[in-house]
């Protein structure tokens, strides 16, 4: 959590290789990494749901899930033939895993509501073996119903034992969904608290700077 401009998104962008950190190191799964691009981070097992949904409007659900990592029937450079059936089946699996219901997989994303699109973006992270899923304000642009829908999916993923980092402004959502709260203020991590040992008031005072804790470095 953290106020606007506290550095949450920047932190995530550096973790996922969108931006390069100027100092410090990223240790993930016991190995030091320097990700030059989101693709490298993804290959290391970090899946991200970005704030600006990285979906192609004119493609259907399976194509979006497998964008950039398609399955093939046989390989022939750029003209490799797609294995549409395998991708469709894997998409159905990923949607079952996340509890997302999309009426027609072959519909383009353009025709879907904001909530459905966000669900597709989240299902995308679940379609592959990931070690960590990062979500940058997944409900920021959604209405009440759709937010509930996305929160349900996050809960499903969590119950399935998927490690998650959730970035959010919404105190209720955070206390609803997470085990551990990390607070950012002015580009630094000022608190790293277990949910049971803290409360909303406490977190707010860290966010506003009324209370300052020991400084943590690179707590990922």
């Amino acid at each position: 959590m953290g106020d606007n401009g506290a550095g949450k998104s920047t932190f995530v962008r550096q973790l996922t290789g969108v931006e390069q950190p100027t100092r410090g190191q990223i240790v993930f799964d016991g190995v030091e990494h320097s990700f030059a691009s989101p693709i490298e981070a993804r290959e290391a097992g970090i899946e991200t749901v970005f704030q600006n949904l990285a979906l192609a409007d004119d493609l259907d659900v399976p194509s979006n899930l497998f964008l950039g990592r398609e399955k093939f029937r046989f390989k022939f450079g750029p003209f490799s033939v797609l294995d549409k059936k395998a991708m469709r089946d894997a998409t159905t699996q990923a949607l079952i895993k996340t509890g997302v219901k999309i009426p027609n997989l072959m519909n383009t994303i353009r025709n879907m509501s904001g909530g459905q699109r966000q669900c597709v973006a989240i299902a995308r992270t679940a379609a592959f073996k990931s070690k960590l899923v990062i979500m940058d304000e997944p409900t920021a642009a959604l209405g009440v119903q759709e937010t509930a829908q996305v929160e349900n999916i996050i809960r499903t993923l969590k119950e399935a034992g998927e490690p998650l980092i959730l970035i959010s402004h919404n105190m209720r959502q955070v206390f609803d969904l997470v085990d551990r709260v990390v607070v950012f203020r002015r580009g630094r991590i000022v608190a790293n608290l277990r949910k049971e040992e803290t409360n909303g008031q406490d977190v707010v005072s860290y966010i506003t700077g009324a209370k300052t804790g020991a400084e943590f470095e690179g707590a990922a």
Binding site: L55, A56, D58, L59, L82, K101, E146
Partner: protein
């Protein structure tokens, strides 16, 4: 799946939002326009546009007319197949007409025959060494030139980040200049028999239809095709998803350049000559075919099938005006109206869907 299934949180799916394939609209337009010509013909000329009205020829349809309809759009149609891929990927290619001019001159220079009616070829460009070469030589030289021009287009668009409109406009002017410089504006003529066979009779149609099927399969079934739609739909998302967007663009423009060169080979073979002014305005006709065929200029939407239908609409209009014995000027004016109409319809359709 059930059409009214509910998502979590009570979200319902509105089946009305599912779009009708745009190709269907284009097909309907084709049928309507053809029917209009048929009707006007019956009423005012007492003759049929589509059907055979003569006793001395076999068949229900007027096959001669049907052949001409498709033959006269085949060569520009070949170019339109490449332009379609460029537009779906979110770009535009203005250079194809000029590439036709330049590659026709160059290819024909390697396709000349030494003796014309027993006299030395009066239009010879090179010396004896370039005479009566096997047909594969001019074809490969032509395709190679087109590939190079397309590669330059793609590299400019992908790496210098200048708008495709400007990059290909530059190529358009450059290639037209090249085609004039090549032989000081003189035509290059008298090809070998082998070369002349490429565009003979209905060969342009055969080539156009085979390529249309090939690229239809490529666009619908391969990674390249999927990435065309992805890049045209959301370039940033494609990049973040690991698609090598720059490489893809270079490939798309290269293929478009090669198809323009192939059209040049077919055209110069059909006409038995190459001239510096060949292919003028072809780029716009090709874009128009694609647009009429429902290819969105915003990228991400459209299909080869649409472009083929768009090309047929073009052919029907040209033949229809000839059939009604109207001046060619009207053709141009009507074509202009149809192009604008097609884009306006596409935009309305998008807005309607966006609101729904």
């Amino acid at each position: 799946m059930a059409q009214t299934s509910h998502g979590i949180g009570g979200l319902t799916y509105d089946p009305a939002k599912k779009a009708r394939p745009p190709e269907l609209n284009v097909l309907m337009a084709l049928v309507l326009i053809t029917a209009a010509f048929e009707l006007i013909g019956r009423v005012f000329l007492g003759d049929s546009f589509l059907f055979n009205t003569r006793d001395n020829v076999e068949g229900i349809f007027n096959w001669q007319r049907l052949n001409i309809i498709i033959l006269q759009v085949s060569i520009v149609g070949i170019i339109a197949l490449g332009v379609t891929q460029v537009i779906i990927s979110g770009g535009i290619d203005l250079s194809s007409g000029s590439i036709v001019g330049a590659t026709a001159m160059i290819a024909m220079s390697f396709a000349q025959t030494e003796l014309v009616n027993g006299n030395p070829n009066p239009k010879a460009i090179f010396g004896d060494w370039a005479m009566d070469l096997p047909v594969i030589v001019p074809v490969l030289v032509g395709l190679g030139c087109g590939l190079m021009a397309g590669f330059v287009n793609g590299a400019l668009v992908a790496y210098t980040r200048i708008p495709p409109f400007i990059a290909t406009l530059g190529m358009m002017v450059f290639a037209r200049g090249l085609s004039r410089w090549w032989s000081n504006g003189n035509p290059v003529s008298f090809p070998t028999e082998g070369y002349a066979a490429i565009g003979k009779g209905m060969m342009p149609v055969v080539i156009f239809v085979s390529l249309a099927i090939l690229f239809h399969l490529i666009l619908t079934q391969t990674k390249y095709g999927k990435h065309c739609y992805a890049v045209g739909s959301n370039e940033q998302a494609s990049r973040m998803s690991g698609i090598k967007v720059n490489n893809h663009k270079v490939l798309v423009y290269s293929i478009a350049g090669m198809l323009a060169a192939l059209a040049a080979v077919v055209l110069s073979s059909k006409n038995l000559t190459a001239q510096a002014g060949m292919g003028v305005m072809y780029e716009l006709d090709a874009i128009a075919m694609a647009v009429i065929g429902g290819i969105s200029l915003q990228g991400g939407r459209g299909s080869i099938l649409g472009t083929v239908l768009g090309a047929l609409i073009f052919g029907v209009i040209i033949s229809g005006f000839t059939f009604l014995k109207l001046d060619a000027y009207y053709q141009e004016m009507v074509k202009g109206v149809i192009i604008v109409g097609a884009v306006v319809l596409d935009q309305w359709r998008q807005q309607k869907r966006g609101r729904g």
